[in-house]
């Protein structure tokens, strides 16, 4: 298991990357993933909290990231080449350039797992 954090330019771009991991259509016409990775769409995450009055009315709006953020728990394992050398798993093709490395879990974690310990 590896955990990756990603910031895509748009929701559409992120969706294209997700779709490329593999989908099928069931008999009801619904698309479902054929991969086993766990993808969490965080969207435009809050960079600065908004302020609200006692009635819940917004005083100042939250500041949102202009990127579309994803956290992924990849079901990927390290492997070995024929000479016995370790080949560490890496981001799937097309994901690495959108990965972000942070300290700690940030705004999202996977229950019981630590990003710092499972990042690529």
């Amino acid at each position: 298991m590896y955990i990756g954090k990603y910031a895509f330019n748009s929701k559409e771009q992120a969706q294209d990357k997700i779709d490329a991991l593999g989908t099928e259509i069931d008999e009801n016409g619904n698309e479902y993933p054929t991969h086993k990775h766990s993808i969490v769409e965080l969207g435009n995450i809050v960079l600065e909290q908004g302020e609200y009055d006692e009635n819940g009315e917004e005083i100042s709006a939250p500041v949102l990231s202009d990127k579309w953020h994803l956290d992924v728990a990849w079901r990927l394992e390290d492997s070995y080449d024929e000479d016995g050398n370790l080949i560490e798993a890496d981001h799937p093709y097309g994901w690495k350039s959108y990965s972000e490395e942070i300290e700690g879990d940030g705004v999202h974690s996977f229950f019981g797992l630590k990003y710092d310990e499972l990042k690529f």
Partner: protein, 619 residues
């Protein structure tokens, strides 16, 4: 002969769920492969919320620093005038050591009873005192020599220095002492203490004198790569402390004081707390490190005493502090009082929060979230009245209000709705309703049309990964020519997406499928043979979230769907599948899994009579 799962007979281990082939009383293991990958919670047999796969064994030894060695002092109660070296002015009589005031600076001594470098719990009692004091030496010289001048029992934790002798040194003391005891702390040397670390009364203490990073360390605790739950009590007066293996697992500050629960993947076999140079003043205790086998199936007892296999989709608790309502993440009115760790929670621990809101303004507790507009969300939380009015008001998914009635028992409340522009969730006390005083635990907000099991959070949203349970049995366990696929199941939601139980040939060509369909109330029995659909019959009369006993009967040109004691649909045309060899709680390839509660699954290798089917499926 039948492959069976559940029906009150459960056995789980990491990566496996035990099913078995009952061959006329002979049992053969037919495990399912199980995956999840993250932690998850469930309701145990005792009704309390538990973490799946959390092992019982605390891998830390003497985590509460309570272990003491045997008594080192001989004749500590002065029953006889022996074993002690008496300096000037000391006599032993009447069950006490008496100092007449003439021996100031002349000790009462017992030699060779301690080991330099070890820490001892030393107690003695001043039972009479006219004047002066007693100074205690665990070896001489020693940098820690406490002085006592009051009647009563005095307890000190002292590291032996200098030599192996115990001294009670009077200073103008006139009086008597009794009940001297010396016992080694951590007698099995489980812990290694760095500079500035010492033992206290059931704690390990960092005194802020360190000039380097120093550790409180125990060896052979963890296995590299495995996941663990860390629990301990922190009482940090100032500075910072880190839980570590090789690298830092977590950093803690005084604001974190109290019981801490954290999770880590080990990068070493040792576990330690590390103090910072001149920046760690405080103590730790009740240290527990337990392995979590994250891929352990959950048998949930929230609905029945026999339990059910709980299979859930991926879900995220969007609330970043699900238990710590005192954190500033939660917006609180000026008259709202939040008391952490006030009462026993549904987890069975002292971590439920008391919320008090008088009948006035400034009485709310809420969170505002953005970016969720139009999504179906479900709020859930546990609450219990604590002496206030029974009706409280919750904010749901905007400024929509909902009144709930509290009881004197813990209840999990959940509400589903469509998110407004801004999502505001929490509790409000509407003026005029009376004072609110209740207990709160486990606040959860999910992007699902129903509540799933509790996902605790401590500073970030958290995701439980989806589960799969597949790959039980082999060709010899199933009969492709005739049989019955039976399941006692309930879905988490009525409709939404297809949830499969599949008896198949490990491909999509041949199968018997039981499907809780994406359409509300629809239950489907489908058979394929050689890649060609043979049977596709449905019933539309049962809510999928109800407890359902469903039997799918297959044999050549006879297919029948029984639900809850009644034969609902038949099809008398169709070929049987070929080469059935696997039972999956999903499609053959693990996709479109069954999410819900599975109480019982059985695959019979012969068709059953109508009488047998009626009996099998009657609720």
């Amino acid at each position: 002969m039948a492959v069976k799962l559940g029906n009150g007979k459960w056995a789980v281990k990491e990566n496996n769920l035990l099913a078995y082939n009952d061959n006329s009383g002979q049992f053969f293991n037919k495990e399912f492969d199980f995956t999840r990958g993250s932690s998850a919670t469930y309701v145990g047999k005792d009704g309390l919320i538990k973490t799946a796969g959390l092992q019982d064994t605390n891998l830390v030894q003497n985590g509460d620093f309570s272990e003491l060695g045997s008594e080192e002092v001989v004749n500590g109660d002065f029953a006889t005038d022996s074993d002690w070296t008496k300096g000037a002015g000391w006599t032993i009589s009447g069950g006490a050591a008496i100092q007449d005031g003439t021996g100031s600076g002349s000790s009462l001594q017992q030699s060779n009873i301690i080991v330099v470098g070890k820490t001892y719990k030393i107690t003695y009692e001043i039972i009479e005192r006219t004047q002066g004091s007693i100074q205690l030496f665990a070896g001489y010289p020693n940098s820690n020599t406490p002085t006592n001048s009051t009647i009563g029992v005095h307890t000190h934790y002292i590291k032996a220095e200098g030599n192996p002798n115990l001294y009670l040194l009077p200073s103008n003391f006139i009086g008597s002492i009794d009940n001297v005891s010396v016992k080694q702390v951590d007698p099995n040397d489980e812990w290694t203490l760095g500079s500035g670390w010492s033992y206290g009364d059931g704690v390990a203490y960092s005194d802020n004198t360190q000039t380097n990073y120093e550790s409180l360390q125990q060896s052979s605790v963890t296995t590299i790569g495995k996941t663990y739950e860390l629990k301990f009590n922190l009482n940090l007066d100032s500075g910072v402390i880190q839980a570590k293996g090789n690298a830092v697992y977590e950093t803690y500050y005084p604001a974190d004081n109290g019981e801490i629960v954290s999770y880590f993947v080990a990068d070493s076999t040792f576990f330690r707390f590390t103090s910072f140079p001149n920046n760690t003043l405080g103590s730790v205790t009740n240290i527990s490190v337990k392995e979590i086998q994250v891929n352990t199936p959950r048998i949930d007892f929230s609905d029945s005493a026999d339990g059910a296999l709980l299979l859930e989709p991926q879900s995220t608790n969007l609330i970043q502090y699900s238990e710590d309502f005192s954190d500033s993440y939660w917006r609180k009115g000026s008259n709202t009082t939040v008391i952490n760790n006030y009462a026993i929670s549904p987890e069975g621990k002292q971590n439920a929060t008391r919320i008090q809101m008088p009948d006035t303004s400034g009485t709310f507790l809420d969170v505002n979230l953005s970016g969720l507009q139009g999504n179906t969300l479900t709020v859930s939380f546990y609450a219990k009245n604590n002496g206030g009015v029974t009706n409280i008001t919750t904010y749901l998914l905007g400024n929509n209000l909902q009144t709930i009635s509290l009881t004197d028992k813990w209840v999990k409340y959940d509400f589903t709705g469509i998110a407004d522009t801004d999502v505001r969730v929490g509790i409000d006390n509407i003026n005029g309703g009376g004072a609110v005083d209740f207990l709160l635990y486990g606040f959860q907000l999910e992007q699902l049309p129903y509540a799933t099991s509790y996902i605790p959070t401590q500073g970030s949203a958290s995701t439980r990964i989806a589960e799969t349970c597949t790959n039980s049995g082999s060709a010899q366990d199933f009969n492709s020519e005739e049989g019955v696929l039976y399941a006692e199941i309930s879905a988490l939601d009525n409709g939404g997406f297809d949830r499969y139980i599949s008896l198949d040939d490990s491909t999509s060509l041949n199968y018997v499928h039981l499907i809780l369909h994406a359409t509300d109330n629809r239950i489907v029995f489908r058979v394929n043979s050689g890649g060609v659909e043979q049977v596709n019959i449905s019933d539309y009369n049962f809510e999928q979230t109800d407890n359902l006993k469903i039997a799918c009967v297959y044999k050549q040109h006879y297919f029948s769907l029984w639900i809850n004691g009644i034969e609902r649909v038949t099809d008398i045309s169709g070929n049987i599948p070929i080469g059935l060899n696997k039972l999956n709680l999903s499609l053959f390839n693990g996709t479109q899994p069954f999410y819900g509660k599975v109480k019982n699954v059985q695959v019979f290798t012969k068709s059953l009579t109508d009488e047998e089917l009626e009996k099998l499926t009657t609720i």
